[in-house]
């Protein structure tokens, strides 16, 4: 009877299985093997497309943290849970028989890109942008100045932002930058605490915000209303934010209504909403709502930071000095030009939301430090056969999940083309995760599997239940690993 069992094992399904020495069926080592570095939207969408496109490719996703999903988990605002639904699609991919997740593996430190390239037919770099662009002004290092990336990381439970402890005891906060991240920060700072209580915002952030004295948030941009980088959904959320009223400078909008005629629909609708909010006399009900509002938000245009001003007695910030600009040119290409005028704004909190930045994690990988991306053509890394990139590392840190999805599908398609055309040599078998796992074990690194992540997921959801939240995130890597090992 045992013999019959072995015989059926020996007949490989779809001609692709073989037998290892220990008698277990395994995929043929001739299957193409792809490694993806980074488990955010770029990593998962690239994996999804590759797995669908060819029935023989095996995909391994490596992630530095014990938990997957990147900015979907750590970037998307807690009050935007529907945006996180994409996790269900990613979970389906991760659980596919030809996909494996290896968390808690630091590529660049625990294993090199070179070692990955030896083990896999192709390596796709999708590790995003974990650095910030610095403002580049004196006083930037003072207490009370934070990057939006760190501030968002703090309220979203990114382990290395756990101890940020932003000082929210001031009345006015200034946010530099006017993209969606800037608006997320403004919204979280001014949202009624009751609406935040039911989200997956971290408990420490919730407690800090409950005690916050911040009542006025200014969202500052170098150029004008027609160049604002945020999108209409986020603007509408600010306009409708309970307990708040808008405070804009009417002269900032001179000439804007007239310029709207030939502008594409998205920019037009966005600008019209801004104009309405800034200039139109509100109806009776809205006026009443505004009179009762205790929190204020507003855009300030044509302002660039020149210095963060210190409070001489307390070694923290007292305000920010801004240069006044004027615009040269119009539309998306308009440039901000200094006028020589300056303006000081008293404030106790500055959040710099001027862009994320990719970092080079391995010296062997070409890196354009000016653009902060990996130089590539259609996702193929230049002068590096078998190396690809997708997501923000490929194009720079802008765009929403849908943008990254399209970008990742394009890289996957380049990879598929190269496999089909022979540009990528698939004739030699590659060991894939077998050799990498052995390497990691030798180095004392224990990867977290997808089912280990599910244990963490369950613990977080259970803890959240107690307080009516979708989850209570674990905030320390050690805690995550502890749960993963149970």
């Amino acid at each position: 009877i045992l013999l019959i069992g072995c015989t059926s094992l020996l007949r490989p399904p779809s001609g692709s299985a073989g037998i290892t020495r220990c008698g277990k069926a395994c995929y043929s080592s001739c299957n193409p093997k792809v490694c993806i570095v980074g488990s955010g939207p770029a990593g998962f969408y690239t994996a999804q497309h590759i797995i669908k496109a060819r029935q023989d490719v095996e995909v391994d996703i490596y992630e530095r943290l014990p938990v997957p999903f990147g900015l979907v988990r750590f970037g998307v605002a807690p009050d935007h849970p529907e945006v996180k639904n994409v996790i269900n699609t990613f979970t389906q991919t991760a659980k596919h028989s030809r996909c494996s997740f290896y968390g808690n593996v630091n590529v660049g430190k625990d294993v090199s890109i070179d070692e990955l390239q030896q083990a896999y037919h192709a390596v796709v770099l999708s590790y995003g942008a974990e650095g910030n662009r610095s403002i580049g002004v004196p006083g930037e290092g003072l207490a009370g100045v934070y990057s939006a990336k760190d501030f968002v990381g703090w309220y979203n439970g990114l382990p290395n932002c756990r101890e940020l402890s932003p000082d929210l005891s001031c009345e006015t906060a200034v946010i530099l930058g006017q993209g969606n991240v800037a608006l997320d920060v403004a919204r979280i700072l001014l949202s009624p605490i009751d609406s935040l209580k039911k989200t997956d915002i971290t408990q420490p952030a919730l407690e800090a915000l409950a005690q916050s004295q911040v009542r006025r948030v200014l969202i500052v941009g170098r150029r004008g209303p027609m160049q604002i980088a945020c999108t209409i959904k986020e603007l509408r959320e600010m306009v409708n934010l309970p307990g708040t009223r808008p405070e804009m400078v009417a002269t900032d909008f001179e000439g804007v209504a007239e310029a709207l005629k030939d502008v594409p629909r998205p920019r037009k609708r966005l600008t019209e909403l801004m104009l309405k909010t800034a200039l139109e006399k509100p109806g009776e009900k809205e006026q009443e709502r505004r009179n009762k509002a205790s929190r204020i938000w507003g855009f300030r245009f044509f302002r660039s930071p020149i210095e963060v001003l210190a409070d001489p007695n307390h070694n923290k910030i007292a305000g920010i000095r801004l240069a006044v600009n004027k615009l040269e040119g119009s539309g998306e290409g308009a440039q901000a030009v200094l006028t020589g005028e300056e303006e000081d704004v008293p404030c106790g909190l500055v959040v710099s939301s001027i862009g994320y930045k990719s970092l080079s994690i391995d010296p062997s990988v070409p890196f354009d430090s000016r653009k902060a991306i990996v130089p590539n053509i259609m996702g193929r890394v230049q002068q590096a056969a078998g190396l690809y990139c997708s997501g923000w590392l490929k194009t720079g840190p802008t765009g929403v999940i849908a943008t990254t999805m399209n970008n990742s599908f394009d890289t996957a398609r380049s990879l598929m083309e190269d496999m089909d055309s022979g540009t990528l040599d698939l004739s030699a078998a590659k060991p894939g995760s077998q050799s990498i796992s052995a390497l990691l074990e030798k180095r004392g690194v224990k990867p977290v599997t997808f089912s280990d992540w599910e244990k963490i997921d369950n613990v977080e959801m259970m803890r959240g239940e107690a307080s009516g939240k979708p989850r209570e995130k674990l905030l320390k890597v050690e805690e995550m690993l502890q749960v993963a090992r149970t």
Binding site: H49, A53, E82, N85, T89, Q92, H96, V400, M416
Partner: protein, 196 residues
Amino acid sequence: MATSAAVRSSMGLTLRLSRVIPDCSTCSLYRLRSCVNSAANLQRTGSADSFRTINRHLQTSIGLYHSEEGSSNAEDPEDVVNVVYIDRSGQRIPVKAKVGDNVLYLAHKHGIELEGACEASLACSTCHVYVNAAHFDKLPEPEEREDDMLDMAAMLQENSRLGCQIILTPELDGIELTLPKVTRNFYVDGHVPKPH
């Protein structure tokens, strides 16, 4: 023997009609042998016990069956709405749908590559489609939230809509939905999923 086989198969049919066992044959995950749901694997092996071990069908964006959300199961010809999807490679894929079907989930059911990242909650634009002129005006006006998300879609056109917001009615019979060529996202080996 034959009698019990007949009983077993009619039990299976009854349970499928009462939607206890999902009908896996239309799901792209099942056809690609990628379904992790053990109910599907039991169906594949033809196990007579498949109706005893019902597993909760996983809620996934591919597996969601709009038919479980209330539209009629009967093959009423007046219920039928003919839809044509034109995929990103230009291939026309005709589909027989029912009144009440959701265009996004209908696409998933037929393996058409329309993503629905936010699962129809108006928080993304990945289900962006172009609607043919003859039927575009027959659709109800988009709500403000849909317009806001459409503004984010690449290659927005006058006839753009979000697929997850289009619910089929009898007057939409013959509607043609084109997937925008934002990526050249089609199967490299020319494989086209067979429409149901």
